[in-house]
Symmetry: C2
Subunit: 506 residues, 2 copies
């Protein structure tokens, strides 16, 4: 029997990945399922991640001239009916408000009363309601471009839900812009995709493939949808942000017209783009290990946990003084526009404290006992290393190098995720190899398969559909700026000019 | 005939205050009514105020140990039924979700489908749904205090709505805390009230009276409600923030129990506290004048508008260079933890530009023409002074004194609002005077009345009710820390120990 290290999360990733995910969410205290079907409660440790994502994106948006606004939660039914594809995509699963009062019934309970003349839908996305405002805000070319973003909750009634990945209610931002020309709208679509790429790669430490969706995977009503695709540790793809070029479709549906400099009446060109709390699911699945969550420092809820250890009352004051001074000095360090965030954990829980912080994924853990203080040093563990790999470091050196250490951890996580993706991505040119790649080796481990297949596709929707039906594999994206290369469609053998990315996906 | 100055807003405040309010909202571009009954669209200039309020409060909350989280938008009907007074207060006007799908009907339209087993209410406030989480999060005294805040949208179905003041959907924060002792919960209730006071007085420049609500004006289910009351320019009161001591009422309804150090099972003591986008209505009504919005610099969407003026193409480059350099240097100035925000308005609209910025309430306007540049000076108008009172100031001096000028404006607005409240508050001791004070002098100007009456009240709900029925006047608060003084109830003549604040209110 080989030596088996005990891990903090049961089951391990290799045993049951979906269940591992749920256990990490629980153990790290990020969020929980609520008594409301499909809705989650985002707990402080999880919400802090969202606050950090929001802060970073909000700054990047504003630097490009985007302004925030807020539009109604409710969308009148007739609005949703405006754009034909859009209604197909969104009317099917939505929360419908039909009454505006609860009244006591004869048996003493409450029953819906005050029926509405027109039902209202809780926004699944806001193109139609924002389009109505845009139609009034835009009249001349001087009013363009209009660059608006909204931070909001949206609701899509989901049958099978999983915390962060697919929930009935989720938090997101949705940007909506209107432009005088097609070129400018397309430029904005790609600019926002690049901002998302910067967020996900530089802060969330998740490498992404940047590409365009095929027609069947587009946002309902869009002309083009651009996407970032990341690989999770079960080798499935997760869409980490999308940016849509809507052409004039929504402008026509919502009557967003402007008078050009030549005094013609022209429909505007619009875009929309969004990321959601789903990104927290991506962080969990890209970096988490069998001991729990692993947070990239640049987005972490907090950076350093200090754990004072005192055996008796005499020690206690000395240890606490040392701890508080250390916390203050760490908290004064600049770390990429934030300060270092420090948690002091003085619970008297013995050994389980350290494991709590490992499970919560904090980048750096510090134990501080009387012997450390005697040597003016601290005992440090890093979340990118093994849980037992701890090191005694002189206190002043620890403070002086903390930013560098966090940067190292950040880089290690990104590199590890990139290596994982590369090891599990492969060019496949025959149908046999393709089917083998996506077929589980063991039937009882249905989730284990090859990863990303870079294969040729003829552009025919029927081929895409066949692969989806046979393997539950979809084209995640047609990579941007990929080399052109002639080849044969993996499904039908017809000529193709470029490889696309096939994968199973969340 | 006296000289009549033309003003930017029609009607003036004295002519028709409610209509003046709506016209200021329009002219300042803060927000607009949406096609969804009772819901508003908050436009960028208005949303920036909310972002500033949120940023300031969020920091102050976090400094006291509060953490942000997020709870579901939907509340199952049975939750709302838990607390008897609460259901009375909130079930009557709420948005009820009864279906989770829209389906095509035979005539091609969409109809609600997929009826829910249990209707869901869109949260009017979250005590019940947050209480459910708290009941699971709290088990030992070591889990307390629990200090949680949520930034969210809420919905209360209102029959008569007015932008910012009373809308079906609005944005707010709601804090919810649980404590081991009554004393600690009460301390927290008052601590949060003091934070609101700091926000409203120091940043919104609105003086407030701090006090306790009478039983009939309490939050449904609360033991005590504390409030900040501000006077608007029509002499009516506006509640600018409330903090509720909930006793053990909600802990019992939601089963929030903890094991004490002595191992007894005890119900926790809870609080809740909130402010909303209503505060933007308070800013408009406390400071606005007949030329439009007047923004206190400490909360302003932006601080300085630069308006370059060039008569011909030769000038243009020089003027724009000068303007951009000025904008950059102003933007480097620290202003109470922010930087100075500068708008460059290079629209070619001639004279109307200046009026646009006056109506939008920006604290400082700067005109920059070739002659100003020749003298290395700028032409400056301040929103706390008359629209024609402009001054030429050497450029470098303008930069050096901008923070001081903003501070002066801030102080002037606060002082003016305080003076107004003092001039329109009076101690009244006879019923005749009291009724005269609240009776409009002219029937066609029903909104003009005396203001705040500081009068004695015996504590009897019947007296409160009589005054409310006769005059639409309510007790806004029983001031905290007011001098005890014996007197006679203004309604019934019975003995009283303290004056309370009577007013008409929003």
């Amino acid at each position: 029997m080989g030596r088996q290290e005990k891990t903090a999360i049961t089951p391990a990733r290799a045993e049951d990945y979906p269940e591992w995910y749920q256990q990490v969410v629980n153990a790290s205290d990020l969020a929980e399922n609520s008594p409301v079907r499909g809705c989650m409660v985002i707990k402080p440790w999880g919400y802090a991640l969202w606050e950090n994502i929001r802060g970073l994106l909000d700054n990047m948006f504003k630097e490009t001239g985007v302004k925030n606004a807020y539009f109604p939660l409710f969308i009148p039914k007739r609005f949703l009916e405006k754009e034909a594809e859009h209604v197909e995509g969104f009317a099917k699963e939505c929360a419908v408000v039909t009454h505006h009062r609860l009244e006591e019934s004869e048996d003493g309970g409450l029953v819906p009363a005050g029926p509405l003349e027109e039902p209202l839908v809780v926004r699944p996305t806001s193109e139609t309601i924002i389009g109505e405002s845009f139609s009034r805000w835009v009249s001349s070319y001087r009013d363009l471009p209009l660059l608006i973003n909204q931070w909001a909750n949206v609701v899509r009634w989901e049958m099978r839900t999983r915390i962060f990945l697919r929930t009935t209610e989720f938090l997101w931002q949705e940007g909506h812009t209107a432009h005088a020309t097609q070129e400018e709208a397309m430029e904005r679509t790609l600019l926002m995709l690049n901002i998302y790429e910067k967020l996900v790669q530089d802060y969330l430490a998740i490498p992404v493939l940047k590409g365009e969706k095929t027609a069947s995977e587009r946002f309902p009503g869009a002309v083009n949808t651009f996407t970032l695709e990341a690989m999770m540790q079960d080798r499935k793809a997760l869409q980490a942000g999308t940016s849509h070029f809507l052409g004039q479709n929504f402008a026509k549906a919502s009557d967003i017209k402007y008078q050009s400099a030549q005094e013609d009446e022209v429909y505007a060109w619009t875009t929309s783009w969004g990321v959601s709390t789903r990104l927290i699911g991506a962080i969990i699945m890209a970096h988490g290990d069998d001991d729990g969550l692993v947070l990239p420092p640049a987005i972490a809820s907090s950076h350093v946990a200090l754990m004072p250890i005192s055996k008796n009352t005499d020690d206690r004051d000395t240890v606490m003084d040392f701890t508080h001074t250390l916390a203050r000095e760490l908290g004064e360090q600049d770390y990429h526009g934030r300060k270092i965030d420090v948690e002091i954990d003085d619970r008297e829980t013995g050994g389980s404290r350290g494991w709590d912080w490992i499970k919560k994924g904090i980048p750096v853990r510090v134990e501080i006992g009387p012997r450390d203080i005697a040597r003016n040093s601290v005992f440090v563990g890093r979340r990118d290393k093994g849980s037992r790999e701890k090191e005694s470091i002189p206190r002043d050196q620890f403070i002086k190098t903390i930013v560098q250490v966090l940067d190292e951890i950040q880089k290690n996580l990104f590199d590890r995720a990139l290596r994982f993706r590369e090891e599990n991505s492969t060019q496949i040119d025959t149908s046999n190899d393709f089917y083998a790649f996506f077929t589980p080796k063991k039937p009882e481990k249905a989730e284990i398969h090859g990863g990303f297949a870079l294969s040729h596709w003829c552009g025919n929707e029927a081929c895409e559909e066949k692969i989806k039906t046979d393997l539950s594999v979809t084209i995640r994206c047609i990579p941007l700026n990929a080399e052109k290369e002639t080849g044969r469609c993996i499904a039908c053998g017809e000529a193709s000019v470029q490889r696309v990315v096939f994968a199973k996906a969340y």
